[in-house]
Homo-oligomer: 190 residues x 2
C-alpha cells in the first residue's frame, strides 16, 4: 500500500484529479508515503512544495493540504521536492528525488532529465519502473521551516473605489487589478 492505496487506486485517483496519469504524481505519492513514515503521526502536518508543476497535485490528492485551504504552500523554486512539517513547531522532513539514486533506474532518470522521448519510453514502462523503484530514488532530511511556514490570516477588506469589488485593504483604496495589474481586456457582451 502507498498512501493507504493499492497501485490501482493510486493511478485511478491521479487520473481523476489531474486528468491523466502523470509519472511525477506517482513519484509524488511515494514521496508523501515516505514523509508520513518518518514524521510523527500525531502532528498536524502542513506542506510546502518546491515546484508548481505536477507535484502540488500529489499533495492535494494524498494529504489534507490544498492550495485553497492554505495548508499547502507552492514555491516556484522549480525543484522536485516537498516538505511536510509540524505547523506548530515548524520542524519537518524534506523529501526529494535524488538524481544519484535515480541513475540506478535509467528509465526514470532519462525521463526526469528529458533525455528520452515519449515515443522511445512508453508511459506504461515508465510507470512500471516507478512502482519498482518505490522510495529507492528518494532522499530525505530533517529540516526546520524558517519562512512560508505559518498560515496566513485574512486581513481587513476594502471595497475598491473604481471597480467596487472587495479586496485586501492593504492594497490601498483601489485594488491591485485597477492599479494596473490585471490580466484581461473587457469585451462587449453579445
Amino acid at each position: 500500500m502507498i498512501c493507504g492505496r493499492t497501485p490501482e487506486e493510486l493511478l485511478c485517483e491521479i487520473q481523476g484529479f489531474h486528468g491523466f496519469v502523470a509519472p511525477g504524481l506517482l513519484i509524488g505519492a511515494f514521496m508523501i508515503d515516505k514523509a508520513y513514515k518518518v514524521i510523527d503521526k500525531t502532528i498536524e502536518a502542513d506542506a510546502i512544495v518546491e515546484t508548481k508543476h505536477c507535484l502540488p497535485d500529489a499533495l492535494q490528492i494524498f494529504t489534507p493540504c490544498t492550495v485553497g485551504n492554505g495548508w499547502l504552500k507552492i514555491l516556484d523554486l522549480d525543484k522536485f521536492a516537498l516538505t511536510l512539517y509540524d505547523r506548530h513547531t515548524l520542524d519537518g522532513f524534506r523529501i526529494w528525488l535524488d538524481l544519484d539514486k535515480a541513475k540506478n533506474h535509467p528509465n526514470i532518470y532519462n525521463w526526469f532529465m528529458g533525455l528520452v522521448s515519449k515515443k522511445d519510453l512508453p508511459k506504461d514502462i515508465l510507470i512500471d519502473a516507478i512502482f519498482k523503484a518505490g522510495s529507492d530514488i528518494l532522499s530525505w532530511e530533517k529540516i526546520h521551516v524558517v519562512q512560508y511556514g505559518s498560515r496566513e490570516k485574512k486581513g481587513a477588506i476594502n471595497v475598491c473605489d473604481l471597480c467596487h469589488e472587495a479586496h485586501a485593504a492593504s492594497q490601498g483604496k483601489t485594488c491591485f487589478a485597477c492599479q494596473g495589474h490585471s490580466y484581461y481586456d473587457r469585451l462587449v457582451m453579445a
Copy 2:
C-alpha cells in the same frame, strides 16, 4: 443541479477535498456553474482565479483545471473572482461576487465583509442562504485574457553545482534555493 451535482454531493465533495465546508467554495460552485452556462461548451477551458484563498479549490473540484496540471493559474489579487477561457482564443468569461447584489442577501454580505462573527451567524444558516441566493449574487463579463493565459512549457534542466538537485537551467548553474531563496534550515538527523 449545480456543476452536475445535487446539493448533498456538492457539500460532500467540498468537505472531502477542502477538509471542511467553506462557504466560499459553495459560492465558487455557483460561479463555475454559471461560467459553464455562458461559455461555449465545446471549448477546452483553462482557468484563472484571482485569490489564493478558498476559491482555487472550487476550480480544482468542479473543473478539470488544477494547479499541478497547469490549467489553473492562481493570481494573488485577493479578489473573489474567476475566469474560464478558451485556451486557444483566450476569450472567456470572468465571474465575480457582486457586492451590490450581495447586499440583498444580508447574511452572505455580512459574512463576506467580515461584519458578523461565526457565533452570530451559524454556518448552516449561511450555507442555506448561499443555496437560496444561487447566482443572484454574481455578475459576469466577457473578457479577453492578455497575460497568464498560456500554458507554460518546462524548459531545459540543470543539475545544481551545490546541492546536485535538478532545477530549471534558466536559474543558472546553482538553483534558486542555493542562491539564498530557500525556506528551511537543515537539522541533524536523530
